[in-house]
Symmetry: C2
Subunit: 565 residues, 2 copies
């Protein structure tokens, strides 16, 4: 029996994970809104774990807790545009949050751990990014923030720790568990909080952590506040942040339950459908373009406004497929619809930037699309775009194509199917050159033409043009343009070959190719930090039968192979 | 039995690895110098493997082959300052180099693979960096360059492929072996050669690779040349590169055999000694300062010139300890000697920059020190500096201290030992602020004070000053300054605690903390790419009993778990 099999055996059956929830159904968080300040309070239901077999003690979390947090983040962006400061605090005494539940981690398969960490990382990034939209998050640590609990605080703009003589911030993963603070912890301590690296080293190896003057002096927290001044000072910080905010506001929209139907191997949303080909280890995803002209006021349409509806469906689909369908290694993206109608909606993303009623919603939707495209960038699946007659890869929908690892475009039409069809075109807009930056701050066009400024400039000159296969190929926008005699055969071979390769090697390869050029804190977290954590997760020192993760809580320390590699 | 144990069991006993060699003893490379152009020719001795059990067919390599290449790189820098262009080519027909030997990889332990790849990466970086010193490397691929063979070419400044109708460049690791082109391959293809990411994806999944117009058009090679024009065109390229070079030249020095003695658990060089404490899993390393004033002409001293001798000894020690002593997880650095004499040598690194006879040697030594300090940055060991009375952490020797994860400095003296000693001082110079940039292009001072420009400026104002423990602490240069009542006890606890932690977690933690701020191609290779490769190396899909690496050559493909994680 291998280490891995043992590890997987130790895990219990995992459910199909749903990402839909609502504050009325939260078991772990409470969301309170008071004017322009909101408070999210963590009081984890010990018995509310997503999977059987562990109790979520001391405000520790599992994926289910984070799904609620993500829901709260989204509602604060869309239902509450009036909220300009968010206080994150805990509902227990002495313990703000103990981080990811260790028994859950110890019982989980490697794939579950990795996927859990990815979603957690993305939610931390979404919290961090809210600041750019004028929403400041303040971590009001009313007790100890340990491990993932402190990493949650690190995603906030400010961190305040209660001065009660005992509460600390800590990253005990290395000394206690033999793994990393891998949800951004190591990176944000030095790259965001600017803690000196030798102090970061002390901090990450001292299980009990720091408090008081040292925590402030080193930059681990922004302030410590005694209990008798707590409410007043947290309130003051929140009000000051809200007062300084430039957040564009208006009437919020209601995030009604997502409209999703599942029928056998098909998952369908109003503008999106996915068909699973289980034997081929592939899923075909088709985005349908809008069927109507854009409305005068997007905010009146709310969740049904096309760009928002597409972002939301795509977000949900990505999360479900990543979590529930690990064997579907290749995602094939197609679009179908009217290019002009897509472009009309695409134009609204820019045109309504100053509209009094709609600006906030258009801005938030743009940010939501950005985050959703970024989810694709860090998705460990091969992404292939197929561009055929009837498709509408234009503007923000063309981002889907550019996010893919490869792009195949039919030259001309399928003569046997519809000889009178119009050949496919691709249309780039500013949506492809700055509106949706990747994690490394490059646009997907800049990323594509990295090191080839001449080609980038050429592509920029063609924004708005309808590029047929030949033109798209000449402009470097597609991997291959083939006529219908070769096209289907080529696609078939490509997808079969892809499905035959080692998923691990593909994951590593794609993670390297997709992030050419500069790195940011965000890409360092998904690249350097996550890759190391994944390596450590699978090593016997952590996850073997005698590893620290597996032994945690047993009273025995991990038994280590002391060889360095 | 676990996957890992099986994998280790499959490996045969490995020897103590020596890094000393000489062109007269090369078994795999030939080094020819003709005026300002040198040629290094790879003709691997199939039976010359470093370890038993595999034949180095088709110019495939193992660590022993790379040790010779590194020796050649060093001799071209120091023995042949007149060489301004280096042609790297192969001595076999049809096959330039098939990359790392697969049977060797399949039989190796995880630790051996990782260490082998690290050294290989460092040698590739040394080749790439030669260009900055006016030495252009040209890969003259007279046959197929596959996998690590192409990665070797990628480290060169130019790549020329023979046009013989069959020779290709390829990265077959993903499709054939289920691992990554992890010695810089994926990163250099997109970040250095600027191959578009979708083409890079095609390339890295197509085992037979590319040649001809496609290889040139995509940027995989700079040119293809038919056999009848081969010698002429390669010669012309080399002469043109040499003619354009600004390399400072002079009489070369002779790299005499390194002066190293081993006595039980002590390894000693003229200015460096290391004492192994096996039970404590620690090695104590002491650098002795110079005992004389610097000579008028460093080049006349040659290998004995203090900065060169220290770099060389340190380089050798790092490589030996990393490869042969994996259980020594903590390296403790001390210095002892005369601060003023160190500073006198340190000044020569700047003062002789324009000296006609010595400039080239001083420059090359500076670069060598830079590369050696960078080896420390990527060494997977905990590095601790201990600063005591009699130490000489000044100028370039202070870089050792700053490269460490922590710095402990005694305040005052050991009252019981030598109450009349002078308390320790630390002296920073320009050597710590730009002369030896890290892989991310930051000086170690910039790295230390990342995000704290005020503290950086304060430290810069104190260059040249003798900073006692209190001053060094106030300037942020040491982790802790303690008096002798607490000092020894603190060090003892620190080292014991460190030795008790999971080596994997420490390796991941240190790799993240040491590279704050921006990333470069070099740090991306050691961070993102290497971390992914290490993860893949240990996954059953590659290294399990049915994994692709283990099955290679058996006629059976790897049997994969198709779950993505």
């Amino acid at each position: 029996m291998t280490v891995l099999e043992e590890s997987q055996e130790a895990s219990v059956a995992v459910p199909v994970v749903e990402f839909d929830t609502h504050p009325d159904r939260y078991r772990h968080w409470r969301l309170d809104v008071d004017g322009d300040v909101a408070t999210v309070t963590l009081t984890v239901d010990e018995d509310g774990g997503l999977v059987e077999g562990y109790a979520l003690k001391m405000n520790s979390y599992d994926l289910g807790v984070d799904i609620e947090l993500y829901d709260a983040v989204q509602r604060l962006r869309f239902e509450h545009p009036e909220v300009k400061a968010v206080v994150m605090t805990g509902g227990l005494e002495k313990m703000f949050c103990a981080g990811a539940n260790i028994r859950m981690l110890a019982r989980s398969s490697h794939a579950w751990k990795v996927n859990f960490c990815k979603f957690t990382n993305e939610t931390r990034n979404a919290i961090e990014e809210a600041h750019e939209s004028g929403q400041t998050w303040i971590a009001a640590l009313n007790g100890t923030a340990a491990g993932g609990g402190y990493e949650l605080a690190l995603a906030c703009d400010e961190i305040v720790l209660i001065d009660d003589g005992s509460s600390t911030v800590s990253l005990p993963e290395v000394p206690l568990l033999g793994v990393l603070p891998g949800t951004g912890g190591l990176t944000r301590v030095v790259d965001k909080r600017h803690v000196r690296k030798d102090r970061a080293d002390l901090f990450a190896t001292k299980s009990e952590g720091y408090r008081g003057a040292t925590a402030v002096d080193w930059g681990l927290v922004d302030a410590t506040v005694p209990r008798n001044a707590w409410d007043e000072q947290i309130g003051r910080r929140a009000r000051e942040a809200a007062a300084a905010s430039q957040r564009r506001s208006g009437e919020g929209i209601t995030l009604t339950p997502i409209d999703r139907t599942e029928d056998g191997d098909t998952i369908a949303y109003p503008h999106l459908s996915a068909t699973i080909h289980r034997d081929a280890r592939r899923v075909d995803i088709t985005v349908s373009g809008p069927t109507d002209e854009p409305p005068a006021s997007p905010v009146e349409q709310g969740v049904d406004w096309y760009p928002f509806a597409v972002a939301r469906a795509l977000d949900d689909l990505i999360l479900r497929l990543r979590t529930n369908e690990q064997e579907l290694g290749t995602w094939v993206f197609r679009t179908q619809g009217d290019v002009d109608k897509v472009l009309a909606y695409d134009a609204q993303l820019g045109d309504l930037a100053d509209s009094e009623a709609d600006a906030w919603f258009v801005h938030e939707t743009t940010q939501y699309l950005k985050r959703t495209f970024k989810r694709l960038d860090v998705t460990s699946r091969s992404l292939v775009a197929v561009v055929e007659p009837g498709s509408c890869f234009a503007g923000f929908l063309a981002e889907l194509m550019l996010a893919c690892d490869r792009q195949y475009m039919l030259e001309g039409v399928y003569e046997d199917v519809d000889p009178d069809a119009d050949p496919a075109v691709v249309v780039l807009t500013v949506s492809n050159d700055g509106r949706f930056p990747m994690g490394n701050e490059l646009s997907r066009l800049e990323s594509r033409f990295w090191g080839h400024d001449d080609e980038l400039e050429s592509a920029r000159k063609r924004l708005g043009e309808r590029l047929d296969a030949q033109a798209a190929d000449a402009a470097g926008l597609v991997t291959m343009a083939l006529d219908d005699i070769d096209f289907e055969e080529e696609i078939r071979i490509v997808l079969e070959e892809r499905a035959s390769l080692s998923p691990d090697a593909l994951t590593g390869m794609e993670a390297n190719h997709r992030f050419v050029g500069p790195e940011s804190m965000e890409t360092k977290i998904f690249g350097r930090l996550t890759a190391w954590q994944n390596w450590i997760f699978i090593r016997p020192n952590a996850s073997g039968p005698d590893g620290a993760l597996r032994r945690y809580g047993s009273g025995q320390r991990g038994s280590y192979d002391y060889k360095r590699v």
